[in-house]
């Protein structure tokens, strides 16, 4: 099922990684922050919305030293000035290469939408076949803002030419984490 997920997500221009443990996932996220040149200036910052997958592995102060401009305080203004946003997702859907998230917490939406690069983590064990499998698992009274993301933001509104990155991210980096590390 993961191979299908990967194929479908890559077909819509997502960058897909799979790692066996949280530590590797952390390394990957840091590599993206490096690669994107995260720095402490408007437009080059990063916001990180902590979640259960990597939360326990994060040494915030060390990371903040390594990446000036990286913040774990996700506000509207900081997200708007950020180049990279990191969030964790609750499910993934193989048939369409989709990741899904209970985004009731607005910080998840801000960090996922405003920066140009969005790094999204999910547990491989939460991979479902498709949207039909997800819907019965969701209680919308609790997940008041359910967000499904399939590839980066795109448009074909001018002469039908596919152009990536209109209002949302231009790059979507998806990291599937096999282990349950960090759940503590």
């Amino acid at each position: 099922m993961f191979d299908l997920f990967r194929a479908k997500a890559e077909a819509v221009s997502a960058e897909v990684h799979r790692v066996t443990a949280g530590a590797q996932a952390l390394d990957l996220v840091l590599a993206v922050l490096d690669r994107e040149g995260v720095a402490d200036s408007p437009g080059a910052r990063a916001v990180w919305c902590e979640g259960p997958i990597l939360g326990a592995l994060l040494d915030r102060s060390a990371l903040a030293r390594r990446f000036p401009g990286l913040s774990f305080e996700v506000t509207r203004d900081r997200a708007a000035e950020s180049r990279v946003g990191v969030t964790e997702f609750d499910w993934a859907l193989a048939a369409t290469g989709t990741i899904a998230q209970d985004a009731t917490d607005p910080r998840l939406r801000l960090a996922s939408m405003l920066p140009e690069t969005h790094v999204a983590l999910f547990r491989t064990s939460t991979l479902l076949p498709d949207l039909d499998a997800l819907l019965p698992r969701v209680d919308p009274r609790k997940a008041r803002y359910l967000a499904c993301v399939t590839g980066p933001s795109r448009t074909a509104d001018i002469e039908r030419v596919l152009t990536i990155g209109v209002h949302g991210p231009r790059k979507l980096v998806v990291i599937a984490v096999d282990g349950e590390i960090g759940a503590a």
Partner: protein, 718 residues
């Protein structure tokens, strides 16, 4: 809008070369990407599911609206239900005033287009920014969307660059990534500055009070997150019963709309979620009825409420492809736009748009909710005719066609009068007011001896093994009697006796498609009387349009006219009706007819007539018959796209018919064959006339003619 104005707008659209280019390329790419997206999906099963889900919802709108209101209210939303577009504006006007709203960011919402919300808000001094890229482009251009999914499909990148340059007062290059980047920058500020965000919704779930919004750009996510007040304007036809009903809708919508498996973003909100600053925010949901409940009660139009606005109908429409949505459409584009305008605005408002439908039925097999747009358009015509009456000339013409003796007499007289204009059996130029008929194609000359006078000369089998009645139709009778003779030969060869009921008359298709159901009903009754012969096993026609009339439309027309007794007789007749190729195929399969394949035949291509392919589902029989005859079939591109004939459509809109024909001729030429086979004398008239006028020798042959040369029967009847 008056008819001359429509003609002018049609002419302007046809003159617009970049429009035709853009829409043509789109149409071709769409067909391929849609097919790819549906790979591995059982489309018919999905349609069954969607028809059930949306159909059930449409029959329970009132209950579902109530349930939705309760649920969304319990989740903390403020729900405002109204049937009146003015009330929506008043509500939002008050809401803006009470909350000091100066700026609004909007994501795509057809319901707000429908009620012209932006103009109203702007008049209150509120700045409204459309944030869907296409919507923003048309907003800046002061236009309206020309497509439900791709609002700016009619504009080139150069035009967009011009529009953006004016907006930012800076000369911009016609570079698409650059233009998109500019839109991102400009609109980002508007998202961040907006006091209110307005979205539409693609689905509203009654059991949970959830709204589902799909976008690719992500603008609805920003609109529903950043501003402090969130509003959704939703037509009640978006309601479904259960959350799981969202599944099939989202399986179909992106595939049918843009050939995607899923849009980049699907957002489902249930009540307000905390605002961007973490504080609680307001969510106002406006459930708009605007005649939808009334529509749900109309048995002929309730199906239109199943529409999920994927626009696949216009994407495959040969008329939309030429004219675009500003001419072929209102707020909602294409044929479905005419239908919705008739309800949301007024019956009369649909008149121009509905008249542009050529009735080819290209839209029906692609609609994910199986909406029959052509059928509803005919019903609109019927109601318009009832309300407005037919123009005098049209009425007179229909009356003439309906009067069998007068019509046949006139045609016979015409066969004499036409002599000076006829060359090799084709009429190239007609004088005076008839010249429009021969501008884009030649016409077949009217036969010296019509089929009805030739038929008695044909000797029938001495010991027949069955009996068929032949329905000729006007074109076979008066223009192509050879087709009639070929049909008789094939059936006789199979040992079947053919009878030709003399009292047969026009099939009523011209009248029905013009909305003159009273005339069509009289045609139906005359023909039912003529063909009610218990000794006849089959009623066969070599004209698919006539076959459709006999098989499907007599009963429908008669029921519409309240003639249930006659309709029952029409049903009995319908059961016997076959198109020629399907009947011939049946006979071959039953071993009653043998086709001898010839060697060394020139290859042919086959044109699928609209009525044969989509109303009679006879795609395979003619191909099987051609193959059995020894013809190599070289399929043309888009073999089932309309040739532009559309009966009297080619007389009413010759300027639209001509470019549709042109494309058909190009696709035939590309196969490199010298003969194009088909099953419809109307298509033969159009395509054959097109080649004749172009001075090309490509031949048009009816499958009956080709088959007649290759059949051998179990019993020889002649």
């Amino acid at each position: 809008m008056s008819a001359p104005d429509l003609k002018q707008r049609v002419a302007d659209a046809l003159d617009n070369g970049s429009l035709a280019g853009a829409l043509g390329r789109f149409n071709e790419a769409y067909v391929a990407s849609r097919a790819k997206a549906y790979t591995g999906i059982d489309f018919e099963a999905l349609r069954d599911q969607l028809v059930a889900v949306k159909g059930r919802a449409a029959s329970r709108l009132e209950e579902l609206a109530t349930q939705f209101t309760e649920q969304a209210t319990a989740a903390g939303a403020k729900v405002f239900r109204t049937s009146d577009p003015q009330e929506v504006k008043r509500y939002l006007g008050d809401l803006c005033r009470d909350n000091g709203v100066r700026r609004i960011a909007k994501s795509k919402s057809m319901a707000t287009e429908e009620i012209h919300l932006n103009a109203f808000l702007e008049k209150q001094g509120i700045h409204v920014a459309e944030t869907d890229l296409g919507e923003w482009i048309v907003q800046l251009a002061g236009q309206r969307p020309s497509h439900m999914v791709m609002p700016a499909i009619h504009l080139s990148k150069e035009q967009v660059a011009g529009i953006f340059s004016r907006e930012v007062k800076e000369e911009l290059a016609a570079d698409i990534p650059g233009l998109v980047a500019l839109a991102r920058r400009e609109l980002r500020e508007k998202f961040l500055a907006a006091d209110m965000g307005i979205t539409g919704a693609n689905v509203a779930v009654a059991e949970t009070g959830t709204l589902v919004v799909v976008t690719n750009e992500g603008n609805a996510r920003l609109v529903s997150t950043l501003p402090r007040i969130q509003v959704a304007v939703v037509g009640v036809e978006k309601l479904v019963e259960r959350l799981v009903d969202v599944g099939p809708i989202l399986r179909a919508l992106p595939r049918s709309a843009t050939g995607q498996l899923l849009t980049s973003y699907v957002s489902m909100f249930t009540g307000p979620s905390p605002g961007a600053d973490g504080a609680p925010k307001e969510l106002h949901i406006i459930l708009l009825d605007n005649k939808r409940t009334e529509m749900a009660k109309d048995p002929r139009f309730a199906q239109a409420l199943r529409c999920i606005r994927c626009a696949s109908c216009v994407n495959v429409c040969p008329v939309y492809r030429l004219l675009g949505g500003h001419v072929f459409g209102g707020v909602y584009t294409g044929g479905i736009g005419a239908i919705l305008a008739a309800w949301f605005d007024a019956l009369k408002a649909s008149n121009d748009v509905q008249s542009l439908c050529i009735q080819c039925g290209s839209c029906t097999p692609v609609c994910p909710t199986r909406i029959d747009i052509p059928e509803m358009i005919v019903e609109l015509r019927r109601r318009l005719a009832q309300e407005e009456g037919h123009p005098f000339m049209q009425k007179a013409a229909l009356r003439m066609v309906n009067d069998r003796r007068l019509f046949h007499g006139l045609l016979r007289a015409a066969s004499k009068v036409q002599k000076p204009f006829t060359k090799k059996g084709m009429i190239r130029h007609l004088p005076f007011f008839l010249s429009g008929m021969t501008e884009h194609r030649s016409l077949p000359a009217i036969a010296d001896v019509p089929f009805r006078d030739r038929f008695p000369e044909i000797e029938q089998p001495a010991a027949p093994t069955g009996k068929a009645a032949l329905y000729a139709g006007c074109l076979v009778d008066f223009a192509y009697p050879g087709i009639g003779e070929a049909v008789v030969k094939v059936l006789n060869t199979a040992g079947i006796e053919v009878v030709f009921p003399e009292a047969q008359t026009c099939c009523g298709a011209p009248a029905r498609y013009a909305g003159a159901f009273d005339v069509a009903a009289r045609n139906a009754m005359d023909n039912i009387r003529a063909f009610e012969d218990p000794s006849v096993t089959w009623v066969v026609s070599a004209c698919p349009t006539c076959t459709v009339a006999l098989r499907h439309e007599f009963a429908a027309t008669l029921r519409s006219e309240g003639q249930e007794g006659w309709a029952v007789r029409a049903d009995a007749l319908a059961a016997k009706v076959r198109d020629f190729s399907s009947l011939a195929r049946e006979l071959v399969d039953a071993g009653r007819l043998t086709v001898e394949a010839a060697k060394g035949l020139e290859p042919v291509t086959y044109h699928d007539s609209c009525h044969l392919k989509r109303r009679l589902n006879a795609h395979e029989p003619p191909r099987a018959l051609l193959g059995a005859s020894g013809y190599e079939l070289r399929e043309m591109k888009d073999s089932d796209t309309c040739c532009g004939m559309g009966g009297s459509y080619s007389l009413k809109f010759p300027e639209i018919s001509a470019p549709i024909l042109k494309r058909k001729l190009e696709n035939i030429r590309a196969t490199g064959v010298g003969t194009v086979a088909m099953d419809c004398p109307g298509c033969m008239l159009q395509i054959g006339g097109g080649f004749d006028l172009a001075g090309e020798s490509t031949r048009t042959r009816h499958v009956a003619e080709l088959l007649a040369e290759r059949v051998r029967g179990v019993t020889q009847g002649r």
